[in-house]
């Protein structure tokens, strides 16, 4: 059996990403040949193809090229997806970096209530319940494969290090300066 043709067929019929382990099980080949075949398959589905091979949400998929979304939507009569609000994206970032995390903890980090935003993200399938740490504890939440698909992440934790986004000393000082100028901080404490 040609591994590449088998992989192409499997990715075509699968409704969800297939992990390397699963692909090895299904094809009966070792990881090395499967990975090489995936790379060759990716080259075959280049920019001139309507499909592309991508590693997403913990596995491999065969998906349409980005520029063909509108024509695909005509077939599905797909309603346009709603954009996520800045508050929803911030909450999603908190959950993605701290997961599993409870709603009180999200509220503590954001400084404002996260109740409505968490409910909205649950409804959109971006997050899911991840159990309670102990009986009577607050429910914790984590991101879903749908979140990873939407944001092009290969899996859980495929995010830039949070340190990448931290304020530099100058930027933190600028925040304090703005607060001071607005009358919120005195020169002594700022």
């Amino acid at each position: 059996m040609d591994v590449m043709r088998a992989l192409e067929a499997l990715l075509f019929v699968s409704p969800e990403p297939l992990s390397l382990v699963r692909l090895c099980e299904l094809t009966g080949h070792a990881p090395g040949p499967v990975q090489r075949a995936l790379a060759e398959l990716g080259e075959r589905h280049g920019a001139e193809s309507g499909l592309e091979v991508a590693e997403i949400a913990g596995g491999w998929v065969l998906r349409t090229q980005a520029d063909l979304g509108p024509v695909c939507d005509r077939l599905r009569a797909r309603p346009p997806e709603e954009r996520l609000s800045p508050a929803a994206l911030e909450t999603l970032a908190v959950i993605a970096y701290l997961e599993p995390v409870s709603r009180p903890d999200i509220t503590r980090v954001r400084g404002v209530s996260a109740e409505a935003t968490v409910a909205s993200l649950l409804e959109r399938g971006m997050i899911e319940e991840a159990g309670r740490p102990h009986e009577g504890g607050a429910m914790r939440y984590r991101t879903t494969p749908a979140f990873q698909e939407r944001f092009g992440l290969k899996g859980t934790g495929d995010l830039p290090p949070i340190a990448h986004f931290e304020l530099t000393g100058d930027e933190a000082e600028a925040v304090r300066r703005r607060l001071r100028e607005a009358g919120h901080l005195s020169d002594e404490l700022a």
Partner: protein, 246 residues
């Protein structure tokens, strides 16, 4: 400090103002981020809405709320008249602590805000890649072979109308003691003596019990006299001469 009379976090207090609707902590954050113009915030309405609720505040909670409201009033006053007083008297250390906490929280939250902005740039909503969403077909279960006669028989049984369910148990059986008393009085008036067994012949146990109560009631009122010559035998109800007018 009693937990039963205390709201866990006074900042979660919901407010309804013309300018704003939501929890107090959100209002404070928006004010301090300058997303709500402090000059337009109706402080009198805010204080009234905060303190007029049904919550039974304890002293520390009330104190915290009053401090927060005073801080807002002070900020608004400074904004309106300038900061000359601060130069003269120096900053209020409590209010400064609250503001320092806000600065620390804003700085700590900034990385997640930036990560949210980064997520926006990664949002596939505009990239428009599409995934196959058709679920894999499940293997069909083969039906066990049946003869046509068996299927026809099963269908025929399905088409037989089930018996109409009885609603008899929903009708409450009522026995009126007053009516039985009136009936006994009539019988006594006509014949002067009534047999309990005859009066209760053919009636259910509830009516028998109510008839006995009616007999006892007539005896209590002195309108009749009860007699039972033999244990467990028939009870005779005789009209009492003194109570005959009742």
């Amino acid at each position: 400090m009693s937990a039963s009379v205390r709201v866990a976090d006074p900042l979660r207090l919901p407010l309804e103002l013309e300018l704003f609707e939501g929890p107090l902590d959100l209002l404070l954050t928006l004010v301090l981020r300058e997303e709500i113009e402090l000059g337009e915030l109706p402080l009198r309405e805010l204080v009234s809405a905060t303190l007029s609720g049904d919550a039974d505040w304890d002293a520390p909670t009330t104190g915290e709320l009053v401090l927060l409201l005073c801080s807002l009033a002070e900020l608004k006053a400074r904004r309106l008249v300038g900061d000359d007083d601060e130069e003269e008297y120096g900053p209020d250390p409590d209010a400064e602590l609250v503001r320092e906490r806000l600065a620390a929280q804003l700085i700590a939250f900034a990385p997640f805000q930036r990560a949210g902005v980064w997520l926006r740039t990664q949002d596939g909503i505009d990239g428009a890649v599409r995934y196959r969403r058709v679920p894999l077909g499940l293997p069909q279960r083969a039906l066990a072979p049946h003869r046509p006669e068996e299927l026809a028989d099963a269908l025929a049984r399905l088409m037989i109308a089930p018996p109409t369910p009885s609603l008899g148990h929903l009708n409450r059986h009522r026995v009126n003691v007053g009516e039985i008393v009136a009936e006994l009085r009539g019988a006594l008036k006509r014949s002067g003596q009534v047999s309990f067994d005859e009066m209760t012949s053919g009636v259910d146990r509830l009516a028998q019990g109510m008839t006995l109560i009616a007999c006892l009631e007539l005896a209590r009122r002195g309108e009749a006299r009860l007699a039972q010559p033999v244990a467990f035998g028939d009870i005779t109800l005789q009209r009492h001469a003194a109570g005959s007018g009742g």
